[in-house]
Amino acid sequence: MLQILIYGAVSSAIYAMLAVGFTLIFGVARILNLAHGSFYALGAYSAYVFTAIFKLPLFIAAPLAMLLVAGFGVVMERYLVRPLRHSQLAVLMITLAVSLAVEQGLFITFGSEYRNVPSFVADKLSIGGVDISGQRLLALVASVLMLCCLWLFIQRTRLGAAILAVSQDPQAAEYMGIPTNRIFSIVMAISAGTAALAGVLVSPFLTVQPTMGLLPMVKAFAIVIVGGLGSIPGSILASLLLGYSETIVAYLVSTSWTELVSLVAVVITLMVRPSGLLGRRAAF
């Protein structure tokens, strides 16, 4: 029981990091970013390169990976997505092209075999008789911290207020003197950075390989549909729901069935409450 509680919390936290970035860039810039999964994969591979090849310690490798991927996201937004923003479908196609290019690039550089990233924390901890690797616990703590910082940043800073303003009405925000395009870049950097951190944190205990981004991408999408597109509290709530239901299914049935949880969740949500748990009706 306690085991389900702890493992479910870890996967929920990772999903929340992915889904928050995905929904943030949608909510602010109306960009449905199909390359979000590649940020995650790039984060994991940067962790591999920095720790396994350059032998850097974690507290240097993780911020470096985040910066690298955030930079990649900003460049992508500026030169590939922004010129095509007049058409939502063109945005979908271009972000998809980027994700395919990244996947193939990783495949060419690193090959298709799994990569092992050394554990950042080797110890195993025992909580109430449940053994849990320090790495999973670190992932949990780091993502909760990250989400709290993000929340504080958006609620308490001037920049956060600007982001909120742009998400409510980009044109009005522009008239008020908020540099909308710069806000888009900042949000893209945050979105890519959180996805990369999720990738870095899971890299020691999940398989690192070129196609690793697709499934988390599908799950982030499922979470965002369930929680309501553009709603950050909604996606955190949905992450908890999905993380726990997957863990319970994994314990009761088998791990190979967990992938179906997200599909069922999406179908039920679309039929019962198309706008999502905490979404606004206007999204559809």
């Binding site: 979908l92 196609m93 395919l100 060419i108 599908v218 499922a222 179906l260 599909l263």
Partner: protein
């Protein structure tokens, strides 16, 4: 109008004649095989374009229907040992059933949401194939299907004939009252509803038609490869088809088919580049998106024939 139709028909006849005679001029089983794949991709691209090109609901999970048709053929050939000819109608039927099951919840979503929902649906079906590996053969898939027609050249002609029939039916539908309604739905769905047009019915029906031809192509592909495997469901297949339609010119069914044939030939020629092929594909897509938003084939054909119109 009649004159325009004549010009288009002449072009189509010349192209089909070239495609049909090519393997006789250059007698090589390799070329025949490549052309068969070209024709199958042509069927897939034309069927994608019918639903998505006309209604503007981009289907990122076309591989769902392709894989459904192919796996039906696979099951019928390797588990139930039926006559291979039965797998064509069965593949179509299963693809249509899938399209209705998937279409009802997803087609309520607009544009990008629909695209993403279809993308997840096909990803999940691929996953299911791996979960039920006892029945689907897991990663390796099902193999040992019987060929429909033993002679590869005759099979190629058969597939080419189906491509021609597919493009003819879909073009006729697209130019009919039906096609007009689909374009109207693309323009403004709410107004269509207000005018008393049952938009939901038309969207699901056109998805079913699109799925029927995709499933047919899937069954043909299964009997060409003589095996089926999970990559048929993969997002890469859907994306390849979409890129082909973009190159051909979205919304013009013949352009989609020609784009598919050209791009398949191009990828065969690029086989030497091996793993860089997908990069060339994505680069093509980026260039088309930025510089030729209307595609290449259909606008080129229109410009070419402008003088005689």
């Amino acid at each position: 109008m009649r004159r325009n139709a004549l010009i288009d028909l002449t072009g189509a006849v010349i192209l089909v004649a070239i495609l049909a005679l090519l393997p006789m001029l250059v007698a090589s089983n390799y070329l025949t095989g490549v052309l068969t794949v070209c024709a199958i991709y042509g069927i897939w691209a034309a069927s994608w374009d019918f639903m998505s090109g006309l209604t503007g609901r981009e289907n990122f999970g076309h591989s769902l229907f392709i894989g459904a048709g192919a796996y039906t053929a696979g099951f019928m050939g390797t588990t139930w040992f039926t006559d291979p000819w039965y797998s064509l109608p069965a593949g179509v039927a299963v693809a249509v059933i899938f399209s209705i099951i998937v279409g009802f919840p997803t087609l309520r979503l607009r544009g990008p949401y629909f695209a993403l929902a279809m993308l997840s649906a096909s990803a999940i079906l691929q996953r299911l194939c791996l979960i039920f590996w006892e029945y689907t053969g897991g990663e390796e898939g099902l193999y040992g299907l019987d060929p429909l027609i033993k002679n590869p050249l005759h099979y190629y002609w058969f597939v080419l004939a189906i491509l021609v029939v597919t493009v003819a039916i879909l073009t006729a539908l697209a130019h009919s009252h039906w096609g007009l309604l689909l374009r109207a739905i693309r323009g403004d769905e709410a107004t269509c509803q207000a005018a008393g047009i049952n938009a939901t019915f038309y969207k699901i029906a056109s998805l079913a038609i699109s799925a029927a031809f995709a499933g047919l192509g899937g069954a043909l592909y299964a009997h060409y490869q003589l095996q089926v495997s999970p990559p048929l469901f993969s997002v890469v297949v859907s994306i390849t088809v979409i890129i082909m339609v973009y190159v051909g010119g979205i919304g013009s069914i013949y352009g989609a088919a020609v784009g598919a044939i050209l791009l398949t030939l191009l990828t065969e020629m690029l086989r030497g580049f091996g793993e860089y092929r997908l990069w060339i594909y994505t680069l093509t897509l980026m260039l088309i998106l930025f510089f030729l938003p209307n595609g290449l084939i259909a606008p080129a054909w229109r410009r070419l024939t402008e003088r005689w119109r």
